[in-house]
Amino acid sequence: MPSPDRFLLPLTYNTLVVESTTRCNAKCGMCYQGAGPKGSDYLGDAALTVDEIKRVLRSAATMPSVGRRFHMAGGESFIKMDESVEVFATAAHLGYTDISCTTNAYWAADVFKAHRVAQRLRDAGVLRMEISWDWWHGPHISPQAINNCLVACAANDISSNLRVLTTRSHSAEEALAMLSPAALAKVSFATSAPVYKVGRALEIPDEDIYSSSEEATCHTALNLTVNARGDVSPCCAGFDQTDHALFGNVREHELADIAEEINRSLLIRMVVFEGIASLRPILALLGEETKPRYTSICGMCFEIFSDKSKLARLTRFFEEMEAAALEEAFEQLQLAPVLEAAA
Protein backbone atom coordinates (compact mmCIF):
# COMPACT_ATOMS: atom_id res chain seq x y z
CA MET A 1 0.00 0.00 0.00
CA PRO A 2 1.59 3.33 -0.98
CA SER A 3 2.33 5.59 1.94
CA PRO A 4 1.29 9.20 1.31
CA ASP A 5 3.69 10.42 4.00
CA ARG A 6 6.64 8.77 2.34
CA PHE A 7 5.65 10.30 -0.98
CA LEU A 8 6.01 13.78 0.52
CA LEU A 9 9.60 13.30 1.64
CA PRO A 10 12.31 15.31 -0.08
CA LEU A 11 14.76 13.23 -2.12
CA THR A 12 18.04 12.85 -0.28
CA TYR A 13 21.29 11.57 -1.74
CA ASN A 14 23.95 9.49 -0.03
CA THR A 15 26.74 10.61 -2.32
CA LEU A 16 27.67 13.04 -5.06
CA VAL A 17 28.81 10.86 -7.95
CA VAL A 18 30.69 12.37 -10.88
CA GLU A 19 31.30 10.28 -13.97
CA SER A 20 34.19 12.24 -15.39
CA THR A 21 34.51 10.53 -18.78
CA THR A 22 32.71 7.97 -20.94
CA ARG A 23 36.04 6.61 -22.18
CA CYS A 24 37.55 3.47 -20.75
CA ASN A 25 40.64 1.56 -21.82
CA ALA A 26 38.58 -1.63 -21.43
CA LYS A 27 35.39 -2.63 -23.22
CA CYS A 28 33.74 -5.18 -20.94
CA GLY A 29 30.73 -7.21 -21.98
CA MET A 30 28.73 -6.45 -18.83
CA CYS A 31 29.54 -2.72 -18.50
CA TYR A 32 26.38 -0.91 -17.39
CA GLN A 33 27.77 2.26 -18.95
CA GLY A 34 28.66 0.62 -22.25
CA ALA A 35 32.03 2.39 -21.92
CA GLY A 36 35.01 1.76 -24.20
CA PRO A 37 38.10 3.41 -25.69
CA LYS A 38 35.96 5.57 -27.99
CA GLY A 39 33.40 6.47 -25.35
CA SER A 40 30.00 5.10 -24.40
CA ASP A 41 27.64 3.07 -26.59
CA TYR A 42 24.85 5.26 -25.25
CA LEU A 43 26.28 8.69 -24.49
CA GLY A 44 29.06 8.86 -27.07
CA ASP A 45 32.45 10.39 -26.38
CA ALA A 46 32.08 12.88 -23.55
CA ALA A 47 34.06 14.22 -20.62
CA LEU A 48 33.75 16.86 -17.93
CA THR A 49 36.58 19.33 -17.43
CA VAL A 50 38.25 19.76 -14.07
CA ASP A 51 36.70 23.21 -13.72
CA GLU A 52 33.24 21.82 -14.39
CA ILE A 53 33.73 19.12 -11.75
CA LYS A 54 35.05 21.67 -9.26
CA ARG A 55 31.97 23.80 -9.81
CA VAL A 56 29.76 20.76 -9.19
CA LEU A 57 31.70 19.95 -6.00
CA ARG A 58 31.30 23.49 -4.71
CA SER A 59 27.60 23.49 -5.46
CA ALA A 60 26.91 20.08 -3.87
CA ALA A 61 28.92 21.01 -0.76
CA THR A 62 26.23 23.56 0.12
CA MET A 63 23.23 21.34 -0.60
CA PRO A 64 21.47 19.92 2.47
CA SER A 65 20.06 17.05 0.43
CA VAL A 66 23.47 15.60 -0.46
CA GLY A 67 25.72 13.76 2.00
CA ARG A 68 29.34 14.87 2.33
CA ARG A 69 30.53 11.97 0.26
CA PHE A 70 32.14 12.25 -3.15
CA HIS A 71 32.69 9.39 -5.53
CA MET A 72 34.36 9.66 -8.91
CA ALA A 73 33.80 7.07 -11.61
CA GLY A 74 34.21 6.92 -15.36
CA GLY A 75 34.37 5.21 -17.83
CA GLU A 76 37.79 4.92 -16.29
CA SER A 77 38.46 8.27 -14.69
CA PHE A 78 42.15 7.48 -14.09
CA ILE A 79 42.96 7.67 -17.79
CA LYS A 80 43.33 11.34 -16.79
CA MET A 81 45.29 10.76 -13.60
CA ASP A 82 46.55 14.31 -12.98
CA GLU A 83 43.07 15.76 -13.41
CA SER A 84 41.59 13.11 -11.10
CA VAL A 85 44.11 13.89 -8.37
CA GLU A 86 43.29 17.60 -8.67
CA VAL A 87 39.58 16.86 -8.31
CA PHE A 88 40.09 14.67 -5.21
CA ALA A 89 42.25 17.35 -3.58
CA THR A 90 39.53 19.92 -4.24
CA ALA A 91 36.90 17.65 -2.69
CA ALA A 92 39.05 17.18 0.42
CA HIS A 93 39.60 20.93 0.63
CA LEU A 94 35.85 21.55 0.38
CA GLY A 95 35.21 19.30 3.38
CA TYR A 96 33.91 16.09 1.80
CA THR A 97 34.56 13.54 4.52
CA ASP A 98 34.35 10.40 2.40
CA ILE A 99 36.18 10.47 -0.92
CA SER A 100 36.18 7.40 -3.10
CA CYS A 101 36.58 6.21 -6.67
CA THR A 102 35.93 3.29 -8.96
CA THR A 103 38.71 1.95 -11.14
CA ASN A 104 39.66 -1.10 -13.16
CA ALA A 105 43.25 -0.73 -11.83
CA TYR A 106 44.85 -0.81 -15.29
CA TRP A 107 47.35 1.77 -14.01
CA ALA A 108 48.68 -0.72 -11.44
CA ALA A 109 50.22 -3.14 -13.94
CA ASP A 110 53.65 -1.96 -12.81
CA VAL A 111 54.15 -2.55 -9.09
CA PHE A 112 56.21 0.61 -8.52
CA LYS A 113 53.77 2.77 -10.42
CA ALA A 114 50.92 1.20 -8.44
CA HIS A 115 52.48 2.37 -5.18
CA ARG A 116 53.28 5.83 -6.54
CA VAL A 117 49.73 6.32 -7.79
CA ALA A 118 48.14 4.98 -4.60
CA GLN A 119 50.26 7.35 -2.53
CA ARG A 120 49.30 10.30 -4.73
CA LEU A 121 45.64 9.42 -4.45
CA ARG A 122 45.86 9.01 -0.68
CA ASP A 123 47.68 12.31 -0.34
CA ALA A 124 44.90 13.92 -2.38
CA GLY A 125 42.31 12.57 0.05
CA VAL A 126 41.05 9.29 -1.42
CA LEU A 127 39.87 7.05 1.42
CA ARG A 128 38.26 4.19 -0.46
CA MET A 129 38.82 2.57 -3.83
CA GLU A 130 36.32 0.29 -5.51
CA ILE A 131 38.19 -2.07 -7.81
CA SER A 132 36.13 -3.71 -10.53
CA TRP A 133 37.21 -7.23 -11.35
CA ASP A 134 35.36 -10.18 -12.84
CA TRP A 135 35.33 -12.53 -15.80
CA TRP A 136 34.45 -9.72 -18.23
CA HIS A 137 37.42 -7.58 -17.18
CA GLY A 138 39.77 -10.53 -17.79
CA PRO A 139 40.45 -9.86 -21.50
CA HIS A 140 41.28 -6.19 -20.85
CA ILE A 141 43.01 -6.01 -17.47
CA SER A 142 45.81 -8.21 -16.19
CA PRO A 143 45.16 -9.98 -12.88
CA GLN A 144 48.59 -8.74 -11.82
CA ALA A 145 47.33 -5.15 -12.03
CA ILE A 146 44.53 -6.01 -9.60
CA ASN A 147 46.99 -7.78 -7.30
CA ASN A 148 49.32 -4.77 -7.33
CA CYS A 149 46.44 -2.38 -6.76
CA LEU A 150 45.19 -4.30 -3.70
CA VAL A 151 48.67 -4.38 -2.18
CA ALA A 152 49.30 -0.69 -2.96
CA CYS A 153 45.98 0.31 -1.38
CA ALA A 154 46.78 -1.62 1.79
CA ALA A 155 50.25 -0.08 1.98
CA ASN A 156 48.86 3.43 1.55
CA ASP A 157 45.87 3.18 3.88
CA ILE A 158 43.26 3.24 1.17
CA SER A 159 40.36 0.97 1.96
CA SER A 160 39.89 -1.37 -1.00
CA ASN A 161 36.61 -2.88 -2.10
CA LEU A 162 37.09 -5.65 -4.63
CA ARG A 163 33.82 -5.67 -6.59
CA VAL A 164 32.90 -8.78 -8.50
CA LEU A 165 29.88 -9.27 -10.75
CA THR A 166 28.32 -12.62 -11.44
CA THR A 167 25.99 -14.44 -13.81
CA ARG A 168 24.94 -18.06 -13.88
CA SER A 169 27.91 -18.93 -16.09
CA HIS A 170 30.49 -16.74 -14.33
CA SER A 171 30.81 -17.02 -10.56
CA ALA A 172 32.64 -14.95 -7.98
CA GLU A 173 34.96 -17.89 -7.43
CA GLU A 174 35.97 -17.84 -11.08
CA ALA A 175 37.02 -14.18 -10.74
CA LEU A 176 38.88 -14.58 -7.45
CA ALA A 177 40.71 -17.69 -8.67
CA MET A 178 42.57 -15.49 -11.17
CA LEU A 179 44.08 -13.37 -8.36
CA SER A 180 46.93 -14.06 -6.00
CA PRO A 181 45.95 -15.31 -2.51
CA ALA A 182 48.52 -12.94 -0.99
CA ALA A 183 46.88 -9.96 -2.68
CA LEU A 184 43.40 -11.18 -1.72
CA ALA A 185 44.54 -11.26 1.90
CA LYS A 186 45.00 -7.48 1.63
CA VAL A 187 41.44 -6.55 0.62
CA SER A 188 39.43 -4.44 3.04
CA PHE A 189 36.15 -5.68 1.55
CA ALA A 190 35.20 -8.10 -1.16
CA THR A 191 31.71 -7.77 -2.56
CA SER A 192 29.87 -9.80 -5.12
CA ALA A 193 26.62 -8.94 -6.84
CA PRO A 194 24.67 -10.23 -9.83
CA VAL A 195 24.94 -8.41 -13.17
CA TYR A 196 21.93 -6.22 -13.89
CA LYS A 197 20.61 -5.98 -17.43
CA VAL A 198 21.74 -2.42 -17.92
CA GLY A 199 23.92 -1.00 -20.69
CA ARG A 200 26.06 -3.51 -22.54
CA ALA A 201 24.78 -6.27 -20.25
CA LEU A 202 21.57 -6.15 -22.31
CA GLU A 203 23.45 -8.38 -24.74
CA ILE A 204 23.82 -11.13 -22.13
CA PRO A 205 21.06 -13.71 -22.58
CA ASP A 206 18.21 -13.55 -20.04
CA GLU A 207 18.76 -17.14 -18.99
CA ASP A 208 22.31 -16.29 -17.86
CA ILE A 209 21.18 -13.38 -15.65
CA TYR A 210 20.08 -13.80 -12.05
CA SER A 211 16.76 -12.05 -11.74
CA SER A 212 15.47 -10.19 -8.70
CA SER A 213 12.18 -8.69 -7.57
CA GLU A 214 10.56 -5.88 -9.56
CA GLU A 215 8.78 -4.63 -6.48
CA ALA A 216 11.67 -2.98 -4.65
CA THR A 217 12.02 0.79 -4.19
CA CYS A 218 15.21 2.82 -4.23
CA HIS A 219 14.60 5.96 -2.16
CA THR A 220 17.30 5.07 0.36
CA ALA A 221 19.90 4.27 -2.30
CA LEU A 222 19.98 7.50 -4.28
CA ASN A 223 23.16 9.23 -5.38
CA LEU A 224 23.11 12.62 -7.09
CA THR A 225 24.93 11.77 -10.29
CA VAL A 226 26.49 13.97 -12.93
CA ASN A 227 27.36 11.98 -16.01
CA ALA A 228 30.18 12.79 -18.43
CA ARG A 229 27.87 14.91 -20.58
CA GLY A 230 26.91 16.98 -17.55
CA ASP A 231 23.37 15.61 -17.32
CA VAL A 232 22.13 15.06 -13.77
CA SER A 233 20.31 11.97 -12.49
CA PRO A 234 19.11 10.77 -9.09
CA CYS A 235 21.10 7.52 -9.30
CA CYS A 236 24.19 5.91 -10.80
CA ALA A 237 22.79 2.46 -11.52
CA GLY A 238 21.58 2.89 -15.09
CA PHE A 239 19.26 5.88 -15.18
CA ASP A 240 22.40 8.02 -15.50
CA GLN A 241 23.26 6.24 -18.76
CA THR A 242 19.98 7.01 -20.47
CA ASP A 243 19.83 9.75 -23.05
CA HIS A 244 17.06 11.63 -21.25
CA ALA A 245 18.32 15.15 -20.42
CA LEU A 246 15.15 15.42 -18.35
CA PHE A 247 16.28 17.75 -15.62
CA GLY A 248 19.16 19.84 -16.84
CA ASN A 249 22.88 19.99 -17.49
CA VAL A 250 25.52 21.39 -15.16
CA ARG A 251 27.00 23.31 -18.09
CA GLU A 252 23.81 25.34 -18.31
CA HIS A 253 22.34 25.31 -14.81
CA GLU A 254 23.41 25.21 -11.18
CA LEU A 255 23.46 21.70 -9.72
CA ALA A 256 21.25 22.82 -6.82
CA ASP A 257 18.58 24.06 -9.25
CA ILE A 258 18.67 20.80 -11.18
CA ALA A 259 18.39 18.80 -7.96
CA GLU A 260 15.34 20.86 -7.02
CA GLU A 261 13.87 20.11 -10.46
CA ILE A 262 14.37 16.37 -9.81
CA ASN A 263 12.85 16.75 -6.35
CA ARG A 264 9.72 18.33 -7.86
CA SER A 265 9.31 15.71 -10.60
CA LEU A 266 6.23 13.58 -9.96
CA LEU A 267 7.59 10.99 -12.39
CA ILE A 268 10.81 10.55 -10.44
CA ARG A 269 9.03 10.60 -7.09
CA MET A 270 6.77 7.82 -8.33
CA VAL A 271 9.76 5.73 -9.44
CA VAL A 272 11.79 6.37 -6.30
CA PHE A 273 9.14 5.99 -3.61
CA GLU A 274 6.69 3.56 -5.21
CA GLY A 275 9.13 1.60 -7.35
CA ILE A 276 9.69 1.44 -11.09
CA ALA A 277 7.05 -1.30 -11.33
CA SER A 278 4.43 1.33 -10.43
CA LEU A 279 4.86 2.68 -13.99
CA ARG A 280 3.56 -0.57 -15.50
CA PRO A 281 -0.17 0.27 -15.23
CA ILE A 282 0.47 3.85 -16.38
CA LEU A 283 2.36 2.68 -19.46
CA ALA A 284 -0.44 0.21 -20.17
CA LEU A 285 -2.94 3.07 -19.90
CA LEU A 286 -0.86 5.05 -22.37
CA GLY A 287 -0.81 2.14 -24.80
CA GLU A 288 2.91 1.44 -24.32
CA GLU A 289 3.98 -2.17 -24.06
CA THR A 290 6.29 -3.40 -21.32
CA LYS A 291 8.05 -6.73 -21.06
CA PRO A 292 6.20 -9.34 -19.03
CA ARG A 293 9.27 -9.64 -16.79
CA TYR A 294 12.38 -7.57 -16.17
CA THR A 295 15.36 -9.06 -14.37
CA SER A 296 15.82 -6.21 -11.86
CA ILE A 297 14.47 -2.76 -10.96
CA CYS A 298 17.59 -1.10 -12.39
CA GLY A 299 17.24 -3.03 -15.64
CA MET A 300 13.57 -2.08 -15.86
CA CYS A 301 14.34 1.57 -15.18
CA PHE A 302 17.12 1.62 -17.77
CA GLU A 303 14.95 0.06 -20.47
CA ILE A 304 11.94 2.30 -19.83
CA PHE A 305 13.93 5.54 -19.66
CA SER A 306 16.00 4.58 -22.72
CA ASP A 307 12.82 4.34 -24.81
CA LYS A 308 12.12 7.81 -26.23
CA SER A 309 8.48 7.04 -26.99
CA LYS A 310 7.73 5.74 -23.48
CA LEU A 311 9.62 8.63 -21.91
CA ALA A 312 7.77 11.27 -23.93
CA ARG A 313 4.39 9.80 -23.03
CA LEU A 314 5.27 9.38 -19.38
CA THR A 315 6.57 12.94 -19.17
CA ARG A 316 3.38 14.30 -20.73
CA PHE A 317 1.21 12.13 -18.48
CA PHE A 318 2.87 13.40 -15.31
CA GLU A 319 2.84 17.01 -16.52
CA GLU A 320 -0.90 16.71 -17.07
CA MET A 321 -1.26 15.12 -13.63
CA GLU A 322 0.64 18.00 -12.06
CA ALA A 323 -1.48 20.56 -13.89
CA ALA A 324 -4.68 18.80 -12.82
CA ALA A 325 -3.48 18.60 -9.22
CA LEU A 326 -2.62 22.30 -9.22
CA GLU A 327 -6.01 23.17 -10.69
CA GLU A 328 -7.72 21.09 -8.04
CA ALA A 329 -5.67 22.74 -5.33
CA PHE A 330 -6.64 26.19 -6.60
CA GLU A 331 -10.27 25.14 -6.68
CA GLN A 332 -10.07 23.86 -3.15
CA LEU A 333 -8.58 27.14 -2.07
CA GLN A 334 -11.49 28.81 -3.84
CA LEU A 335 -9.09 30.84 -5.88
CA ALA A 336 -10.61 29.84 -9.21
CA PRO A 337 -13.01 32.81 -9.38
CA VAL A 338 -10.18 35.18 -8.54
CA LEU A 339 -7.98 33.69 -11.22
CA GLU A 340 -10.77 33.86 -13.77
CA ALA A 341 -11.33 37.51 -12.92
CA ALA A 342 -7.62 38.14 -13.23
CA ALA A 343 -7.52 36.37 -16.58
Binding site: D123, S171, E174, L184, Y210
Partner: protein
Protein backbone atom coordinates in the same frame (compact mmCIF):
# COMPACT_ATOMS: atom_id res chain seq x y z
CA UNK B 1 20.23 20.14 30.05
CA UNK B 2 22.06 19.80 33.33
CA UNK B 3 24.89 22.14 32.42
CA UNK B 4 24.16 25.49 30.89
CA UNK B 5 27.04 27.75 31.75
CA UNK B 6 29.39 29.10 29.14
CA UNK B 7 33.14 29.27 29.37
CA UNK B 8 36.30 29.53 27.34
CA UNK B 9 37.50 26.12 26.21
CA UNK B 10 40.76 25.11 24.68
CA UNK B 11 41.49 21.52 23.85
CA UNK B 12 43.97 19.59 21.72
CA UNK B 13 45.44 22.76 20.34
CA UNK B 14 42.07 24.01 19.07
CA UNK B 15 41.77 27.75 19.04
CA UNK B 16 40.26 29.21 22.14
CA UNK B 17 36.52 29.35 21.59
CA UNK B 18 33.32 30.11 23.43
CA UNK B 19 31.77 26.95 24.81
CA UNK B 20 28.02 26.76 25.08
CA UNK B 21 27.25 23.45 26.79
CA UNK B 22 23.73 22.73 25.47
CA UNK B 23 24.68 23.67 21.91
CA UNK B 24 27.94 21.71 22.00
CA UNK B 25 26.17 18.66 23.42
CA UNK B 26 23.50 18.77 20.69
CA UNK B 27 26.05 19.28 17.93
CA UNK B 28 28.23 16.46 19.21
CA UNK B 29 25.27 14.10 19.60
CA UNK B 30 23.90 14.70 16.11
CA UNK B 31 27.19 14.71 14.24
CA UNK B 32 28.95 11.82 15.91
CA UNK B 33 26.59 9.52 17.77
CA UNK B 34 24.28 8.27 15.08
CA UNK B 35 24.51 4.58 15.86
CA UNK B 36 24.62 2.23 18.83
CA UNK B 37 26.63 -0.93 19.25
CA UNK B 38 25.95 -3.33 22.11
CA UNK B 39 28.69 -5.82 22.84
CA UNK B 40 28.26 -9.06 24.73
CA UNK B 41 30.85 -9.98 27.34
CA UNK B 42 33.92 -11.53 25.69
CA UNK B 43 33.84 -14.39 28.20
CA UNK B 44 30.22 -14.40 29.30
CA UNK B 45 29.32 -15.87 32.65
CA UNK B 46 25.70 -16.80 33.38
CA UNK B 47 24.86 -13.38 34.85
CA UNK B 48 26.81 -11.08 32.54
CA UNK B 49 25.77 -11.93 28.98
CA UNK B 50 24.79 -8.41 28.04
CA UNK B 51 22.89 -5.39 29.34
CA UNK B 52 19.24 -6.05 30.28
CA UNK B 53 16.97 -5.63 27.27
CA UNK B 54 14.33 -3.51 29.05
CA UNK B 55 16.92 -1.05 30.34
CA UNK B 56 18.51 -0.79 26.92
CA UNK B 57 15.15 -0.32 25.21
CA UNK B 58 14.26 2.51 27.58
CA UNK B 59 17.67 4.11 27.04
CA UNK B 60 17.26 3.80 23.25
CA UNK B 61 13.87 5.55 23.43
CA UNK B 62 15.41 8.42 25.39
CA UNK B 63 18.36 8.59 23.03
CA UNK B 64 16.07 8.76 19.97
CA UNK B 65 14.05 11.56 21.50
CA UNK B 66 17.21 13.52 22.31
CA UNK B 67 18.67 12.83 18.87
CA UNK B 68 15.60 13.98 16.98
CA UNK B 69 15.34 17.12 19.12
CA UNK B 70 19.02 17.91 18.61
CA UNK B 71 18.72 17.31 14.87
CA UNK B 72 15.79 19.71 14.70
CA UNK B 73 17.72 22.36 16.62
CA UNK B 74 21.02 21.98 14.81
CA UNK B 75 20.09 20.95 11.28
CA UNK B 76 16.43 21.74 10.81
CA UNK B 77 15.58 18.04 10.99
CA UNK B 78 18.01 16.85 8.28
CA UNK B 79 16.84 13.54 6.86
CA UNK B 80 20.43 12.53 6.13
CA UNK B 81 21.21 12.33 9.78
CA UNK B 82 18.10 10.29 10.46
CA UNK B 83 18.58 7.54 7.96
CA UNK B 84 21.14 4.73 7.80
CA UNK B 85 21.39 4.67 11.60
CA UNK B 86 21.95 1.24 13.04
CA UNK B 87 21.77 -0.70 16.26
CA UNK B 88 24.34 -3.49 16.30
CA UNK B 89 23.80 -6.30 18.76
CA UNK B 90 26.88 -8.48 19.07
CA UNK B 91 27.33 -11.79 20.80
CA UNK B 92 26.39 -15.42 20.38
CA UNK B 93 24.41 -15.35 23.62
CA UNK B 94 21.74 -13.32 21.79
CA UNK B 95 20.55 -16.44 20.00
CA UNK B 96 19.66 -17.85 23.41
CA UNK B 97 17.66 -14.74 24.30
CA UNK B 98 15.41 -14.09 21.31
CA UNK B 99 12.76 -12.24 23.33
CA UNK B 100 15.41 -9.77 24.48
CA UNK B 101 16.56 -9.31 20.89
CA UNK B 102 13.00 -8.62 19.77
CA UNK B 103 12.57 -6.04 22.56
CA UNK B 104 15.77 -4.23 21.52
CA UNK B 105 15.00 -4.40 17.79
CA UNK B 106 11.55 -2.91 18.37
CA UNK B 107 13.07 -0.09 20.40
CA UNK B 108 15.49 0.58 17.53
CA UNK B 109 12.62 0.55 15.01
CA UNK B 110 10.69 3.10 17.07
CA UNK B 111 13.63 5.44 16.46
CA UNK B 112 13.98 4.59 12.77
CA UNK B 113 17.11 2.48 13.21
CA UNK B 114 17.80 -0.79 11.51
CA UNK B 115 19.33 -3.61 13.55
CA UNK B 116 22.26 -5.83 12.72
CA UNK B 117 22.88 -9.00 14.68
CA UNK B 118 26.56 -9.93 14.80
CA UNK B 119 26.89 -13.61 15.62
CA UNK B 120 29.19 -16.47 14.76
CA UNK B 121 28.37 -19.07 12.16
CA UNK B 122 28.79 -21.78 14.78
CA UNK B 123 26.15 -20.13 17.00
CA UNK B 124 23.83 -19.96 14.00
CA UNK B 125 24.35 -23.66 13.41
CA UNK B 126 23.54 -24.39 17.05
CA UNK B 127 20.35 -22.27 17.19
CA UNK B 128 18.30 -22.80 14.02
CA UNK B 129 15.02 -22.40 15.90
CA UNK B 130 16.11 -19.08 17.38
CA UNK B 131 16.94 -17.81 13.90
CA UNK B 132 13.53 -18.91 12.64
CA UNK B 133 11.79 -17.22 15.56
CA UNK B 134 13.67 -13.97 14.96
CA UNK B 135 12.92 -14.10 11.24
CA UNK B 136 9.21 -14.29 11.99
CA UNK B 137 9.28 -11.55 14.62
CA UNK B 138 11.43 -8.64 13.41
CA UNK B 139 13.46 -7.41 10.42
CA UNK B 140 17.15 -8.08 11.01
CA UNK B 141 20.38 -7.88 9.07
CA UNK B 142 23.12 -10.32 10.02
CA UNK B 143 26.88 -9.96 10.19
CA UNK B 144 28.17 -13.47 10.39
CA UNK B 145 31.53 -14.14 11.98
CA UNK B 146 33.34 -16.97 10.23
CA UNK B 147 36.71 -16.33 11.83
CA UNK B 148 36.54 -19.57 13.79
CA UNK B 149 37.40 -21.18 10.47
CA UNK B 150 40.91 -20.99 9.11
CA UNK B 151 43.47 -22.71 6.93
CA UNK B 152 43.54 -25.65 9.33
CA UNK B 153 39.78 -26.18 9.34
CA UNK B 154 38.64 -29.65 8.38
CA UNK B 155 36.57 -30.27 5.25
CA UNK B 156 33.69 -31.20 7.56
CA UNK B 157 33.88 -27.85 9.36
CA UNK B 158 33.93 -25.97 6.06
CA UNK B 159 30.98 -27.99 4.77
CA UNK B 160 29.05 -27.33 7.99
CA UNK B 161 29.67 -23.58 7.62
CA UNK B 162 28.39 -23.66 4.06
CA UNK B 163 25.32 -25.66 5.06
CA UNK B 164 24.47 -23.18 7.82
CA UNK B 165 24.90 -20.20 5.53
CA UNK B 166 22.89 -21.90 2.77
CA UNK B 167 19.97 -22.44 5.12
CA UNK B 168 20.21 -18.79 6.20
CA UNK B 169 20.23 -17.47 2.62
CA UNK B 170 17.45 -19.80 1.48
CA UNK B 171 15.34 -18.34 4.28
CA UNK B 172 15.95 -14.85 2.91
CA UNK B 173 18.91 -13.81 5.06
CA UNK B 174 21.61 -11.43 3.88
CA UNK B 175 25.21 -12.55 3.33
CA UNK B 176 27.61 -10.28 5.15
CA UNK B 177 30.51 -12.36 6.33
CA UNK B 178 33.51 -11.63 8.53
CA UNK B 179 36.46 -13.85 7.71
CA UNK B 180 39.45 -14.31 5.50
CA UNK B 181 38.67 -14.44 1.79
CA UNK B 182 40.75 -17.60 1.43
CA UNK B 183 38.74 -19.37 4.12
CA UNK B 184 35.40 -18.31 2.68
CA UNK B 185 36.55 -19.55 -0.72
CA UNK B 186 37.55 -22.86 0.82
CA UNK B 187 33.93 -23.47 1.85
CA UNK B 188 33.04 -23.45 -1.85
CA UNK B 189 30.18 -21.02 -1.44
CA UNK B 190 31.60 -18.49 -3.92
CA UNK B 191 31.06 -21.06 -6.65
CA UNK B 192 27.55 -21.82 -5.46
CA UNK B 193 24.64 -20.33 -7.44
CA UNK B 194 22.72 -19.62 -4.23
CA UNK B 195 25.39 -17.15 -3.10
CA UNK B 196 26.21 -15.77 -6.54
CA UNK B 197 22.63 -14.65 -7.07
CA UNK B 198 22.72 -12.55 -3.88
CA UNK B 199 24.68 -9.55 -2.70
CA UNK B 200 27.61 -10.88 -0.72
CA UNK B 201 30.11 -8.98 1.37
CA UNK B 202 33.25 -10.37 2.93
CA UNK B 203 35.06 -8.26 5.51
CA UNK B 204 38.33 -9.73 6.68
CA UNK B 205 38.81 -9.09 10.37
CA UNK B 206 41.36 -6.28 10.54
CA UNK B 207 44.75 -7.42 11.68
CA UNK B 208 47.78 -5.23 12.28
CA UNK B 209 49.18 -5.78 8.82
CA UNK B 210 46.12 -4.71 6.89
CA UNK B 211 46.06 -1.01 7.66
CA UNK B 212 49.33 0.77 7.86
CA UNK B 213 48.10 4.25 8.41
CA UNK B 214 49.58 7.04 6.38
CA UNK B 215 49.44 9.31 9.40
CA UNK B 216 50.47 12.68 7.99
CA UNK B 217 47.64 12.46 5.50
CA UNK B 218 45.11 10.63 7.60
CA UNK B 219 41.57 11.79 7.00
CA UNK B 220 38.83 10.80 9.38
CA UNK B 221 40.44 7.55 10.56
CA UNK B 222 38.23 7.17 13.63
CA UNK B 223 35.01 8.38 12.07
CA UNK B 224 33.56 4.93 11.42
CA UNK B 225 34.45 3.84 14.95
CA UNK B 226 32.68 6.64 16.81
CA UNK B 227 29.21 5.70 18.09
CA UNK B 228 27.64 4.69 21.36
CA UNK B 229 29.42 1.53 22.40
CA UNK B 230 27.75 -0.28 25.29
CA UNK B 231 29.41 -3.09 27.16
CA UNK B 232 27.84 -6.06 28.91
CA UNK B 233 27.44 -4.09 32.14
CA UNK B 234 25.55 -1.33 30.35
CA UNK B 235 28.40 1.20 30.52
CA UNK B 236 28.50 3.64 27.61
CA UNK B 237 31.70 4.56 25.72
CA UNK B 238 32.23 6.94 22.79
CA UNK B 239 34.09 4.65 20.38
CA UNK B 240 35.04 1.06 19.64
CA UNK B 241 38.63 1.61 20.74
CA UNK B 242 37.62 2.86 24.20
CA UNK B 243 35.08 0.13 24.95
CA UNK B 244 35.73 -1.14 28.47
CA UNK B 245 38.34 1.55 29.25
CA UNK B 246 36.92 3.00 32.49
CA UNK B 247 38.43 6.53 32.21
CA UNK B 248 36.63 7.00 28.88
CA UNK B 249 33.25 5.90 30.26
CA UNK B 250 30.56 8.45 29.44
CA UNK B 251 27.80 6.96 31.58
CA UNK B 252 25.46 4.02 31.80
CA UNK B 253 22.21 2.86 30.25
CA UNK B 254 20.95 2.42 33.80
CA UNK B 255 20.93 6.20 34.15
CA UNK B 256 18.65 8.62 32.26
CA UNK B 257 20.05 9.61 28.85
CA UNK B 258 20.08 13.24 29.97
CA UNK B 259 22.98 12.36 32.31
CA UNK B 260 25.18 12.06 29.20
CA UNK B 261 24.67 15.68 28.23
CA UNK B 262 27.58 16.98 30.28
CA UNK B 263 29.93 14.40 28.82
CA UNK B 264 28.67 15.23 25.32
CA UNK B 265 29.19 18.95 25.87
CA UNK B 266 32.60 18.51 27.43
CA UNK B 267 33.86 16.20 24.68
CA UNK B 268 32.39 18.05 21.70
CA UNK B 269 35.69 19.48 20.51
CA UNK B 270 37.75 16.36 21.14
CA UNK B 271 35.26 14.00 19.50
CA UNK B 272 35.16 16.26 16.44
CA UNK B 273 38.92 16.29 16.38
CA UNK B 274 39.06 12.49 16.70
CA UNK B 275 36.51 12.12 13.95
CA UNK B 276 38.45 14.37 11.56
CA UNK B 277 42.07 13.61 12.37
CA UNK B 278 42.23 10.63 14.70
CA UNK B 279 44.04 10.57 18.04
CA UNK B 280 47.15 12.69 18.35
CA UNK B 281 49.67 9.96 18.95
CA UNK B 282 53.28 10.86 18.27
CA UNK B 283 54.21 7.46 16.86
CA UNK B 284 53.94 7.79 13.08
CA UNK B 285 54.42 4.06 12.64
CA UNK B 286 51.45 3.08 14.76
CA UNK B 287 49.05 0.94 12.78
CA UNK B 288 45.36 1.65 12.81
CA UNK B 289 43.29 0.56 14.58
CA UNK B 290 45.25 -2.11 16.46
CA UNK B 291 48.27 -0.10 17.66
CA UNK B 292 46.74 3.33 17.54
CA UNK B 293 43.72 2.55 19.69
CA UNK B 294 45.94 0.79 22.26
CA UNK B 295 48.25 3.81 22.42
CA UNK B 296 45.29 6.14 22.60
CA UNK B 297 43.80 4.24 25.53
CA UNK B 298 47.06 4.64 27.42
CA UNK B 299 46.82 8.39 27.06
CA UNK B 300 43.17 8.71 28.15
CA UNK B 301 42.76 9.32 31.88
CA UNK B 302 39.31 10.90 31.71
CA UNK B 303 36.92 12.36 29.16
CA UNK B 304 38.96 15.58 29.14
CA UNK B 305 41.96 13.70 27.78
CA UNK B 306 40.19 11.83 24.97
Amino acid sequence: MTHSDTCEASSHGEESRRMDAPTDARRNLVANFRSVSVQGAPDPGPDRLGPPAEALARWLDEYHAAYVEANEEENGGSLHLLHARTLTLAGDHLLGATEDVVTMVRAAMRGGMSTTLAVSVSAMAAHPHALAALRDAVPLQYRIDCTSLGPQSSPQALAACRATLSAHVEAGGNVSLIGEVATIRATGLLADELFNRNFLTITPRPHPGTRHMNRPHALAPCRDYIAWFIDAAGDVYPCAGMLGHAPARFGSIHEPFSRLIDALAYSAVTIDSLSRRGPRIADDHARFPADLCALHRLSVHGIATL
